[in-house]
């Protein structure tokens, strides 16, 4: 019996100690300045201490404001377009509908809840809004699928047309290290470029490649963003951002913070009078 009380007191003392330790270290925790073992101790305590959770939120609010102290720089102008391209081909995490239905009340509570006319109507309204939201989401998903199907159709028609009439296309090839290769097929009739890659390094599920066109003035313009499979293969059809005759160089590079962003493929366009233009791949 006495041992039980002593154990409880000991646990209480330990808990007070843990609380004091966490409380004192919350500012450093919010700054991410704790060592691994200290961080784990604080997190273990935070899981069941609402007081510390509340206090931490205030410290985090303070820490986050430090971001505003930095000198401001304008991001490069092409970044907006890159982000737009990336999100267009990035799947979103599936989550429940934005409007949630109320928690079901039990037994008599539910009956009395539904007997109140305004509550009943509110419930109906919320459910209706939920259905509308779900419908909108479904509609968007169908539009995305339609767009993907249309892309597949376009790819198929390019391939068929190329097989039937290869002379209607200009064909450029870029070669890089470890078998990385890209083919570009340009149809002047449709002003469409088809990029076919093989052997590009695998970047992971979420990562994408960017294709850049350079003009003679040193400007580079984002031409397209694409994702390849584990064998480094991809096929994408797009309209060149400016006339192909003005392109002097093409670069393909990963577009993720977690990977090196050096080019995977790069080539300069060489034009010779009386013969078709060719790309000369740069040694990387």
């Amino acid at each position: 019996m006495g041992e039980g009380i002593a154990a409880k007191e000991h646990t209480g003392a330990m808990s007070d100690q843990a609380h004091r330790f966490a409380w004192d270290n919350l500012p450093a925790y919010a700054l991410g300045a704790l060592e691994e073992d200290e961080r784990r101790q604080v997190e273990a305590h935070l899981r069941h201490c609402s007081l510390c959770q509340e206090e931490l939120a205030a410290w985090q609010e303070t820490a986050h404001k430090l971001a505003y102290a930095v000198p401001f720089y304008d991001p490069p102008s092409h970044l907006r377009a890159v982000i737009r391209h990336v999100v267009a081909i990035s799947p979103q995490t599936v989550a429940p509908a934005a409007v949630s239905t109320p928690r079901p009340a039990r037994g008599n509570e539910l009956a009395s809840f539904l007997q109140r006319p305004y509550m009943f109507l509110t419930t109906l309204l919320i459910l209706a809004l939920g259905l509308v939201g779900w419908n909108v989401r479904l509609h968007r998903q169908m539009n995305t699928l339609r767009a993907e199907m249309s892309e597949v159709d376009e790819m198929r028609s390019v391939i068929v047309e190329y097989i039937n009439n290869p002379s209607a296309f200009e064909h450029f090839t870029l070669e890089g290290p470890n078998g990385a290769r890209a083919h570009l097929l340009y149809s002047s009739a449709t002003n469409r470029l088809t990029l076919i890659t093989d052997g590009l390094p695998w970047l992971g599920e979420d990562a994408v490649y960017t294709l850049w066109f350079h003009d003679g003035s040193g400007q580079r313009v984002l031409a397209t963003v694409f994702r390849c499979d584990r064998t480094g293969r991809a096929i994408v059809v797009f309209e060149p951002p400016f006339p192909l005759e003005n392109v002097t160089e093409i670069t393909i590079m990963p577009s993720r913070a977690t990977t090196p962003s050096s080019p995977v493929l790069n080539g300069r366009l060489k034009r010779h009078e009386g013969s078709p233009a060719i790309f000369v791949s740069s040694a990387l």
């Binding site: 986050h64 430090l66 930095v70 490069p76 982000i83 737009r84 979103q92 995490t93 968007r140």
Partner: protein, 216 residues
């Protein structure tokens, strides 16, 4: 249309797959994210990649954001800082510091007209609060926040006892919290604390000075 929507409203649209809403959010906070990433990494190319990565993450995880737990900007700057610090640690770049005194002063005059008024006021308040810290306290805060150093690493870096670092960090954070906490105004609404902008900013934006006085 999306321009006037709140951050939380935009996030709801993003969660439903609205790309325009994400672009609007980028227009609103792209500069903040890019500038913070650049401050940590001191490399424009990497700052660009972090910015892209952060907004892709917002796009992918918009449904998991809970406005009851934190403000959107807290979430956004946390993602940005964490991502930038991860890269910094991998590259093992050390020896950088946060914005120095000279940089902060020029930052105020450069905290340009393109910033929204709330953004501008927030930036002025934070810079002013940092300036009010004793230099040794400010140093530990900047090494932790902008360089991702732990207290032990800061102690080694500055060659001072660990206890001194802990004390300085705690005191600095307490002062910052006090200076940056919203104060109630006469009408009962919460508003950011008053700031004392640098003379150059006062001359360029006299209307801002007048509004600053209200919070005193």
């Amino acid at each position: 249309m999306t321009q006037q929507r709140s951050d939380e409203e935009l996030l709801k649209y993003i969660a439903q797959g609205d790309e325009e809403a994400l672009v609007t959010l980028y227009d609103r906070y792209g500069r903040l994210v890019y500038s913070l990433a650049y401050q940590v990494l001191q490399d424009h190319q990497l700052a660009e990649e972090v910015t892209q990565d952060v907004f892709t993450r917002v796009w992918q995880a918009a449904t998991s954001f809970d406005p009851k737990k934190s403000r959107f900007t807290t979430w956004l700057t946390s993602i940005t800082r964490n991502r930038a610090i991860d890269i910094l640690r991998r590259r093992r770049v050390r020896g950088l510091t946060g914005p120095g005194e000279a940089e902060l002063n020029t930052a105020i005059t450069r905290a340009d007209e393109r910033l929204s008024p709330e953004y501008h006021l927030e930036a002025l308040a934070v810079r002013e609060a940092l300036r009010q810290l004793p230099p040794d306290q400010r140093q530990v805060i900047e090494l932790a926040y902008f360089n991702g150093m732990t207290q032990r690493e800061i102690a080694e870096h500055l060659n001072i006892p660990l206890g001194t670092v802990k004390t300085r960090m705690r005191l600095a954070m307490m002062k910052l919290r006090h200076l940056l906490s919203p104060v109630p105004s006469e009408d009962g609404k919460r508003k950011p604390p008053s700031v004392n902008p640098a003379p150059a900013t006062r001359e360029r934006k006299p209307e801002r000075s007048a509004s600053d006085q209200e919070g005193v």
